[in-house]
Amino acid sequence: MKRLIAYFLIGSVPFFAQEIKFPASLDKLAAKAVESVDVTLDSSMLKLAGKFLSGDDPDSAKVKKLIAGLKGIYVKSFEFSKEGEYSEADVEAVRSQLKAPGWSRIVGVRSKRQGDNAEVYIKSDSNGIVGLTIVAAEPKELTLVNIDGPIDLDQLTDLGGHFGVPKMDLDRSAKPKKAEPK
């Protein structure tokens, strides 16, 4: 019996490992989307990916360093042919998890006129940033990114211009603010 419980606990680790869980309803959106991206990389897959990133190439070395301590990277991105294909509830299911202690919204832009929303949340503790979540909701596009683990924003910014990662000019001095009530 004890062994059975142990097997259950070990087997269920991947389901509980991801701190921010994307709702199952998002998987159904892939059928409606003209283009969809689903990236699920847990720590073991990140370690494997790290082995295939050359330490000799400076750009690959940067990515290798960036993902070294991460627990997971999860991305869901959908592009639709027309508006209204996803519901606000799909996004709200993720936002509600980001109200948990430790999470702060550092960027929150909502345009009622254009219907664009861009939110950036970080989770920080005494060691620094230990999680990053991006919620980008546009009328015809929905993107959710969750990076779980210690992440250095400077390192992420440094990747801009390489591997097709756009150049970023993030305000590195910005301090995390408490999540604002919506």
């Binding site: 990236v39 950036v120 993030l170």
Partner: protein, 127 residues
Amino acid sequence: MSRLDDALREALRREEPAADFTARVLARVASPRPKVSRRRALWETLRLPLRAPKLRWAGAAVLCLVAVFGFQYRRERQVRAEGEQARQQVILALRIAGAKLQVAQAKVDALHSSKAATVRERAKEDQ
């Protein structure tokens, strides 16, 4: 002694072949050899070295090694393919994350610049 002599003589006494013996031998020689017997002979020739026990064990060991290395090679290829896919997924994820961070940053910048412009306009109006 004479009994032994008699027994030997009896056992080795000359016997004439049957009358059709020569005809049967000639008929057998003239008839074509069955193909199966030649194939079997070839197979037997190939198996001949394996009749020695040491060689049989060596053959089995070689087969085992080939199987182990084959499995290992296949596994390594699979791991390499998974690793390469994971690497590409990491880069794709960082690309998307970077693009969305840039979008957020651009929106913040646009808001700041429009607010600054409004403040400047109001200041001019006040003057």
